[in-house]
């Protein structure tokens, strides 16, 4: 084995070393004077010295800025005794995403004798460091034991190259009593006793015991992740029994609205709507919470990689054109002594997740244009990572395909390894401090280039009509993908035909592995040669692994032995409907009793600088939001390209003027008071953003993503029911159908006997079709002398607000939504925006008028004066602070030129709206109170600084 170490030459900057040094300083360790990071390549194969030198010189090393050393054994080149060196390598069996590329590069040099390539990194730290401190740096920054280890002695690359000896594994289920059934299920199948007994009954009727792979298949198919048992179950809340929550709330909206432009809803991997009569758009948002908690980079990158495959596997396949991401983390400055045991620090999770999403999305060339980041200490043990992808496809291909008996089962893309086993069942249980250990094999590392290759060639195969049906291999691996696709027909799969990354996998592992970057196709027999040749022409593997039958059975073979024989009816419909109890009781919080401060400047600055409100530019700029050339309204707008845009708009087809708007609404703080109004507010917010950027309510589709606690606990379930009911009530009134959604339950963290439940979190994503992108309105103020209007009523609704939060209160008056009134208001405002020249519009949300107005002013680089006495108010609103910071829904701030005043007012006649201020040249932000006295005066520069500073990392 050859060990090659590549490092930056002296005299050149070392950004990675500097970054590491800064991260170490952030841990409070100040004794590291310098840090350096080097890349290690371990080559196995029969190579002579000249070949190794050539590989280094021509491939691994940049001749200008890098140098290398190589040898058989120890770390070389360090003579300084004041330096500590830590070499970190991947654990055996963890996919090394660089391996394949390096092998290809070596082959291109004409050297064909390298058998394996592994990479590692070495960290050099100069300065006084005790063993404990060094250990702490390793644990907190350098090593994630889930996937990596510190190399202590020179060892060969331990490839999991063991051979696999087949033996049929049968589980003696029939003889088990209840305790044994529970024991079998625990930490492996995650099924409850009732479900285990149902399986036992089934096999006892068959008169035989199940094989291991049959049990695993049932567990995956019946997992919460795949079957949404809670949402589909029977829930008793007080006197009411809800039979199928999903059907009676979310899906009911769509059914009752019956919009002709909803082309495919709740039946495919993503919801599909018509775009322009010729093309269609689909959208899916997924979570990848538990994997991101234990390995943030890998968890998040496979999260985005996975959701990209949803649109790819929708209809006959769509091209991914936009990504979204919403993250919920613990506070990045959380003291280590407040960190729950066994948990990575929120800052590390944040950085890892950000990097994972960016590296994957950027490499795939999909612009990441919309998102949000929220912080709450309750997310520390269980962060939330929502990733979304929009796809574009011909309307004629928007329906899910249907295979025919005799069609071949073809898996394309990446190979199958031992990565990601039990991911689905892992997601269906609570996290504990042992999760890290249990879940090692659940973690996956993504390889974006494998996915990109596959996408490029798949879309060619689609356009040539080479397959009849497509789906993604995601959670549950082949088990879920094949099992679901074959439900109506039946299938025979020959597991030894699945291409493997390395030998040694058992047939069960092959079947349930969640290896990334794979798709499943149903291919007519007469197309298969052309399909395989097409994939081969772009170096992508396509393998026939079985055929669809007409016997409605799932039959798996491993080298001629039948290892699984289940009937589809039992597999898909044998799961007993769940029955659960729910309770709901509105919590009561203290109402604040502090007096109104005479000066509101400090409050505004604190809210602007709160983590949930502040600028996310540091993250946004590390995503490519321009690729594909489609962006029309970017996430950062205004005079210096740094103001917070309300929504993103793209032009999906470059030579058309039609656009698509994407926005999101999320506010878990309201859920602490009442999840009903949290859900209502999230929908209202997502729709406000669509209107604010120049859209209309005419063709808006919604997605719901519930991230919730353990639904087996009645209070969590009661909250879920409340939120789902609001989804129906509000969306039906706004006439905006849901087209897809997902729930992630069991987001609780258990340590030291205490359970921490995340705040109930509902993300609403909206996708709207815009007729003409030339009508886009951005949120930044444009010109001094223009009028600022508020549209909507400001009420005493500060419960869950940022203003209460900075004073340490939650309160109870959560913002409500009056959807009938709201719809009228939004419709009229969008008509007014079409008719007259509205120059800027901004949605009023967190931090109320104060934050929205300040953001408009500093984004435009202009001053503003606001008169609170003009603001249309609800009952008992007498305090300036409440008026300025109330978070009432359905409100907008609008900038209108003086010459368009009467036209605008005429358009809005009869609604609650008023001119409340004016744009100024003097770069001052002044607010006058109800009595007419000035209550706030600040420069826009200091407000902007307060807003930008917290996450300017």
């Amino acid at each position: 084995m050859f060990r090659i170490e590549v490092s930056i030459k002296a005299g050149f900057p070392e950004p990675r070393g500097e970054g590491l040094q800064k991260d170490i300083q952030d841990l409070g360790i100040t004794t590291v004077e310098k840090a350096k990071v080097t890349d290690i390549y371990l080559l196995e194969g029969s190579l002579n010295e000249e070949e190794v030198r050539r590989i280094c010189r021509e491939l691994l090393v940049d001749p200008v800025v890098e140098e290398y050393s190589y040898g058989e054994a120890s770390i070389t080149g360090v003579e300084d005794s004041n330096v500590r060196v830590i070499e970190v390598a991947y654990n055996p069996g963890v996919m090394d995403p660089v391996e394949e590329s390096v092998k290809k590069g070596i082959l291109d040099l004409g050297i064909a004798t390298v058998d394996s390539v592994k990479t590692a990194k070495s960290y050099y730290l100069w300065g006084e460091l005790s063993e404990d401190t060094l250990q702490s740096i390793c644990d907190k920054l350098l090593v994630n034991s889930v996937i990596q280890h510190v190399v202590t002695r020179r060892e060969g690359p331990s490839l999991p190259s063991a051979t696999y000896e087949f033996s049929l594994s049968v589980i003696d289920l029939l003889s088990m009593d209840d305790d044994e059934l529970i024991e079998l299920s625990k930490d492996r199948l995650w099924l409850d006793l009732g479900e285990m007994k149902q399986i036992q009954d089934y096999f006892s009727r068959l008169g035989r015991n199940p094989t291991e792979v049959e049990l695993e298949t049932l567990a995956q198919t019946w997992s919460e992740h795949c079957k949404h048992k809670t949402f589909r179950g029977k829930i008793r809340l007080g006197e009411v029994v809800i039979d199928d929550l999903l059907k009676s709330t979310i899906m009911r909206v769509t059914e009752e609205l019956h919009k002709p432009w909803c082309l495919s809803v709740f039946v495919d991997n993503a919801g599909v709507i018509d775009f322009d009569g010729h093309y269609a758009l689909c959208f899916k948002v997924e979570t990848h919470n538990h994997p991101s908690a234990v390995e943030p980079y890998g968890g998040a990158s496979t999260g985005i990689g996975g959701v990209i495959r949803d649109p790819l596997g929708t209809g006959l396949g769509s091209k991914p054109i936009l990504n979204t991401d919403v993250f919920c983390f613990g506070p990045p400055d959380l003291p280590y002594d407040r960190l729950p045991q066994g948990v990575l620090h929120p800052r590390r999770i944040f950085k890892g997740v950000r990097a994972g999403v960016a590296d994957y999305g950027n490499r795939l060339g999909i612009p990441t244009l919309n998102g949000a980041i929220l912080f709450d200490e309750r997310y520390a043990g269980n962060p939330l990572v929502f990733c979304g992808t929009v796809g574009l496809l011909p309307k004629s291909m928007s329906q899910r395909g249907q295979q025919q008996p005799g069609d071949l089962v073809v898996v394309v893309g990446g190979r199958t390894g031992r990565d990601g086993i039990h991911g689905v069942t892992f997601a269906s249980g609570e996290l504990t401090k042992e999760s890290e250990a249990i879940s090692t094999s659940s973690v996956q590392i993504g390889n974006p280039i494998t996915e990109k290759r596959m996408i490029d060639v798949l879309l060619k195969a689609r356009d040539r009509g080479l397959y009849r049906r497509i789906t993604d291999c995601g959670g549950g691996g082949l088990s879920s993908a094949v099992g679901e696709m074959a439900e109506e027909t039946g299938v025979r799969v020959y597991l030894e035909r699945v291409p493997l990354k390395y030998s040694g996998l058992s047939y069960t592992e092959i079947w349930i592995s969640e290896s990334q970057e794979r798709m499943l196709l149903a291919v007519p027999a007469n197309c298969v040669d052309e399909l395989i040749a097409l994939f081969a022409s772009e170096d992508v593997e396509a393998a026939v692994i079985g055929e669809f039958t007409d016997n409605r059975r799932l039959q798996l073979f491993y080298k001629d032995t039948l290892v699984c024989d289940l009937d589809m009816e039992f597999l898909h419909h044998g799961l007993p409907q769940l029955e659960r109890e729910a309770v709901w009781e509105q919590p009561q919080y203290d109402e604040p009793d502090f007096p109104e401060p005479p000066d509101l400047r400090e409050a505004l600055i604190r809210i602007l600088g709160s983590l949930n409100v502040c600028s996310k530019e540091w993250v946004i700029r590390q995503y490519d939001h321009e690729v594909q050339g489609s962006s029309v309204l970017k996430p950062l707008v205004g005079r210096n390209n740094d103001g917070p845009s309300d929504a993103a708009i793209i032009r999906p087809i470059l030579d058309s003027d039609m656009g698509m708007i994407v926005s999101n609404g999320i506010n878990p703080k309201y859920g602490d008071i009442d999840p009903y109004w949290m859900a209502a507010s999230a929908i209202d917010e997502a729709l406000r953003q669509v209107i604010a950027v120049g859209g209309t309510l005419q063709k808006v589709a919604l997605l719901d993503n519930f991230s919730w606690g353990n639904p087996e606990k009645p209070d969590r379930l009661g909250a879920l029911v409340r939120a789902a009911q609001a989804c129906y009530d509000i969306a039906i009134s706004y006439e905006t159908p849901f087209i897809s959604g997902k729930d992630s339950l069991y987001n609780e963290y258990e340590a030291e006997g205490k359970t921490i439940c995340i705040p109930h979190t509902l993300l609403i994503s909206a996708m709207a079709v815009m007729e003409d992108v030339n009508r886009v309105v951005s949120m930044d103020c444009k010109e001094a002398g223009d009028l600022i209007y508020i549209v909507g009523t400001t009420k005493d609704e500060l419960g869950g607000s940022h203003y209460y939060d900075i004073h340490g209160y939650v309160g109870n008056n959560v913002p409500k939504v009056e959807p009938k009134k709201g719809k009228k208001l939004m419709d009229r405002l969008s008509t007014a925006m079409e008719r007259c020249s509205v120059k800027a519009c901004h949605d009023c949300s967190e931090g109320g008028i104060g934050v929205a107005a300040a953001e408009m002013a500093f984004a435009g680089g202009l001053g503003m004066v606001i008169h609170l006495r003009q603001v249309p108010l609800g009952e008992s609103m007498h305090r300036n602070d409440f008026v300025l910071f109330s978070e009432s829904n359905t409100r907008f701030l609008v900038e209108v030129a003086p010459e368009d005043k009467s036209e605008f007012e005429k358009s809005m006649n009869g609604l609650d709206f008023a001119a409340i201020g004016e744009v100024k040249t003097d770069e001052k932000f002044d607010v006058y109170g109800i009595s007419g006295a000035r209550v706030l005066s600040a420069s826009i520069a200091e407000l902007k600084e307060a807003w930008q500073k917290p996450l300017r990392w």
Partner: protein, 256 residues
């Protein structure tokens, strides 16, 4: 010449080909995209085209370093074809990853006695991938075909490894086409105007003939006015700044 035939080279990880194709088509070219395997297997021949483009992306994941693996593939397997293509009067454009490939393949960098290139593109000084808009100032004496008549441009960059590095002597001999600058044209404005710490604020270079041009910023991402980050607050213009790069190339081929 009626049809200006442009070849859009694709390798695994290329991801700016669609919008670059659109930009060339808007400028009047006929564009064909070709997977690198099609060139290697002689299913498509460079000699049938007048312009060759290596668009942006992360070829082979930018593993090892940005563009390195494709650069080797191009150097070892297509080097002679490309050399002949350029000698025969063809135009070559490399954008972002294409710049990295052209430099690391030795096509846009001098090497002493056939040794390794003495010019490279290294990691940004910020240590980060960054997506932001930059002001560019064109070298008025550059022979570059693509930038004739252009004095300034405002374009987005999106890269993690865009810092031009080399010995001072090598840098002095470069045909610099574009510099990073501030709004006033000052090319010493520093970060973030120079987004990566590039030596001498170099953003784009060409060969002696002016027919091989490469740059880190993305002209294809600003061919229409609505791609400008401030189009909602500034007076409308007919085209984006990047459009002229493509039109220049197409016009030059037409008039050649």
């Amino acid at each position: 010449m009626a049809n200006v035939k442009t070849l859009m080279l694709k390798a695994p990880g290329t991801n700016c080909d669609v919008e670059t194709t659109f930009a060339f088509e808007q400028a009047g070219a006929q564009v064909e995209s070709a997977h690198i395997n099609e060139l290697l297997r002689r299913q498509k021949l460079l000699s049938n085209y007048q312009i060759m483009v290596i668009p942006g992306g992360f070829t082979y994941g930018d593993d090892i370093s940005a563009g390195k693996i494709l650069a080797n593939e191009v150097r070892l397997k297509l080097g002679e074809d490309i050399q002949r293509f350029v000698e025969d009067g063809g135009l070559v454009l490399g954008i972002c990853n294409g710049f990295q490939v052209l430099v690391k393949a030795g096509i846009l960098s001098k090497s002493a006695d056939g040794g390794p290139p003495q010019l490279s593109l290294a990691g940004n000084d910020s240590g980060k991938f960054e997506s932001r808009w930059v002001y560019l100032s064109a070298n008025p004496t550059s022979p570059c075909i693509f930038t004739q008549g252009i004095t300034t441009m405002y374009l987005p960059v999106a890269h993690g490894e865009g810092k031009v590095v080399g010995e001072p002597k090598i840098l002095d001999e470069l045909n610099v086409v574009l510099y990073y600058a501030d709004e006033t044209g000052n090319i010493q404005a520093g970060y973030p105007y120079n987004p990566n710490g590039s030596a001498n604020s170099i953003a784009g270079i060409c060969d002696d003939s002016g027919r091989v041009f490469a740059l880190m910023p993305h002209p294809e991402r600003f061919v229409r006015w609505t791609q400008h980050p401030r189009w909602t607050r500034e007076p409308r213009r007919e085209y984006g700044d990047g459009f002229r790069v493509f039109r220049n190339a197409v016009e030059w081929v037409k008039n050649a």
